[in-house]
């Protein structure tokens, strides 16, 4: 019988030390071959959307140029041109359809990346090959992450071009005549802000990273997809509804000439002397006793005159808002923290794989 006391030969450390890690490029084919179906699906979706926005964009830019150049502006023909431009507003829900792209990429490229290996047991094959488990994971996540982020960035640039006519050159809407403004948006509009600039690519990367981590934690494809959709949607709503407005301290004004393109966060009446918020019941009482000529037809208040009336009675209206000029600072802030979050999630994923917690 052999005895256990047999001395183990020391590892040939010189030989092992010469063992250089295998080149990363070996993973290129592996990653492509295993994920080409998902990548092709993403490509088809994005190309279809790109064609839509390209065709619609050409028409939109043409209509905008025609409406702006028309002279004399008040003529019936010019009004028609403006109306036809304004009528194009709302195409594909103003691009809102693009919001599903990061979610789909997170769910169908990110989540199955590790969950499928863990669910089907193929990780036992993949992680015992010479390439090594954590390098295999890192190569796949980085390769696919860069690919989907670049694709999202490209469609985002195209969408920005498409949407450009809706942003007037100044901070106020253009009026062809007194009654007819040309359709315009604030770049901060929820559901629009994160489709342009760097935000869309960053959201796509974050959704992908959420999916990958969900896959490694949940280890099953379908639950990981569901979790990714839930977490991504929750995060997107939380950021759009609560977080984004706090990136920079908003401007406060007591005036009424707030730019049309600004993002108005709150508007409230204060007692001018004390600076305390005015109670809504006080305001209502004051308005009830206001002279009748303040109100327009059907008792609807005309905002300027009501505003003047209340100001005269010792109230001040304060508006907090984010000016449209802060679009790019906000983009970099949002892109920056989403990138940091994605890097963190990917690092946690690789750490979990490396630590053999999986």
């Amino acid at each position: 019988m052999t005895t256990l006391t047999t001395l183990a030969l020391p590892a040939r450390s010189d030989e092992d030390a010469n063992l250089r890690p295998m080149p990363w490029k070996r993973m290129a084919w592996v990653t492509w071959r295993q994920h080409r179906t998902a990548l092709t699906g993403v490509a088809i979706l994005l190309v279809a959307l790109a064609v839509c926005f390209w065709v619609a964009g050409l028409r939109l830019h043409h209509a905008y140029a025609a409406a702006i150049a028309c002279h004399p502006a008040s003529s019936f023909a010019c009004n028609n041109l403006v109306n036809s431009f304004n009528g194009m507003y709302g195409f594909l829900a103003n691009g809102l359809i693009l919001q599903v792209v990061p979610a789909l990429i997170g769910a169908f490229v990110g989540a199955p990346l590790l969950a499928r290996e863990l669910e089907s047991g193929t990780f036992r094959f993949a992680w015992t090959q010479g390439f090594g488990r954590w390098r295999w994971t890192l190569a796949k996540v980085v390769g696919l992450g860069v690919a989907v982020t670049a694709a999202a960035g490209a469609i985002s640039v195209l969408f920005s071009w498409y949407y450009q006519p809706y942003f007037p050159p100044g901070s106020q809407s253009l009026y062809v005549s007194k009654e007819l403004p040309i359709a315009a948006s604030s770049p901060f509009t929820t559901g629009l802000f994160d489709l342009r600039g760097v935000a869309f690519a960053a959201w796509t990367l974050a959704a992908f990273a959420i999916g990958v981590l969900a896959g490694v934690l949940i280890r099953r494809v379908v639950p990981a997809i569901v979790a990714t959709l839930v977490v991504y949607t929750g995060l997107a709503f939380a950021v759009g509804g609560f977080l984004r407005q706090h990136y920079l301290a908003p401007l406060v004004t007591s005036k009424l000439d707030i730019p049309d393109t600004a993002w108005v966060i709150s508007q409230q009446w204060f007692i001018t002397k004390s600076g305390r918020p005015a109670s809504p019941s006080k305001i209502n009482q004051l308005l009830l006793h206001a002279p009748g000529q303040l109100f327009g037809k059907g008792g609807i208040p005309k905002s300027v005159t009501v505003w003047q009336y209340l100001a005269h009675h010792g109230y001040t209206q304060l508006t907090t808002y984010q000016p449209a000029t802060r679009f790019w600072p906000f983009q970099w802030i949002e892109g920056g923290w989403l990138l940091a979050l994605s890097v963190l999630l990917i690092a946690v994923t690789v750490w979990l794989v490396r630590r053999r917690v999986v």
Binding site: T2, T3, L4, D16, R33, G121, F125, R133
Partner: protein, 303 residues
């Protein structure tokens, strides 16, 4: 060199202890069989050896002192996991190319020749191959890496007798011709008798028996004698008693040269019978001396 060496190795999953206090040294150049009932910790031990999981306690080295999962260990060990997981939607050719890309050494010509020999079409998706062909494909991928140690987890459990025979023949050829050390776990004791020359019996997370098959067979005999005297037999440690109506069979730890008591007959024992006897007596151990010596209650041989 020991291809696998464990010292006080333990693995816990939550509160369950899959392995406890395992000490082992499997020398190179063997086809080592790992047997044990379900839940004995066979897969756990193999997963630890290939670096898929990390020990909770104690230590484990492979290929002469290397740590499992290290680059050198990954290079030198090929693993075919239970149910031979392959990417079902990849063709056999893609599986070869994939494995080629993931390893420093991959013998493309060998792999292609083997698949041709087995009649496995390169174009066919792995998922559409029969169970036997999938197992053979997984084995070919492993062997084309020319590993120093081949680890197989229940490789033939799902195969029909012919596929099982062919699979084992391939393993044996690799072991004999290329000098690949093999560590395989299996339920199929009869199959092991043909290929294994080293035996490890695991039971309840502990190593119960470990040693070269020839040594084990030479140190055990079956004694056949009258039932009435079975209870009083005490000359040598008894592993297992298999009683009949008139005669009783004792698996005893003696050599062929040891004296046989009057009225008893001594027969050699087969590997399957030996392994079965130990599996039925989880409390009895047959281990290389020093490793278990302090742990007296485990070494104790009971009737």
């Amino acid at each position: 060199m020991n291809v696998v060496e464990a010292n006080g190795l333990g693995k816990r999953y939550g509160s369950t202890r899959a392995l406890r206090d395992c000490s082992l040294a499997i020398p190179a150049g063997h086809v080592a069989a790992l047997v044990g009932p379900n839940g004995a910790g066979k897969s756990t031990l193999l997963n630890l050896a290939v670096g898929l999981s990390a020990p909770s306690e104690g230590d484990l080295t492979v290929l002469g002192g290397r740590s499992p999962g290290s680059p050198a260990a990954l290079d030198g060990i090929a693993f075919v996991a239970q149910d031979t997981p392959l990417y079902k939607n990849l063709s056999a050719r893609d599986m070869l190319h994939l494995t080629h890309n993931l390893n420093r050494h991959f013998d493309q010509a060998y792999a292609e020749a083997r698949l041709a020999e087995l009649g496995i079409p390169l174009k066919r998706r792995a998922g559409r191959l029969s169970g036997g062909q999938q197992a053979q494909l997984a084995l070919s991928l492993a062997l084309a890496r020319h590993p120093r140690l081949l680890v197989l987890d229940e490789p033939v459990a799902m195969l029909d007798p012919i596929a099982r025979h062919d699979f084992m023949a391939t393993v044996l050829t690799a072991a004999v011709d290329d000098g690949v050390s093999v560590l395989l776990s299996s339920h199929v004791l009869a199959e092991l008798e043909r290929v294994a020359d080293y035996l490890i019996v695991l039971s309840q997370g502990r190593v119960q028996v470990a040693g070269e098959v020839d040594d084990l067979l030479a140190s055990h005999r079956v004694l056949t004698g009258p039932v009435a005297e079975a209870a009083t037999y005490s000359e040598s440690p008894v592993v297992h008693v298999r009683g009949g109506e008139i005669q009783t069979h004792l698996l005893v730890r003696v050599t062929a040269d040891d004296p046989v008591p009057r009225g008893w007959e001594s027969h050699p024992v087969g590997l399957e019978e030996l392994a079965l006897a130990y599996l039925r007596e989880p409390g009895v151990g047959a281990l290389p001396g020093p490793a278990r010596a302090p742990d007296a209650d485990q070494v104790e041989v009971r009737r």
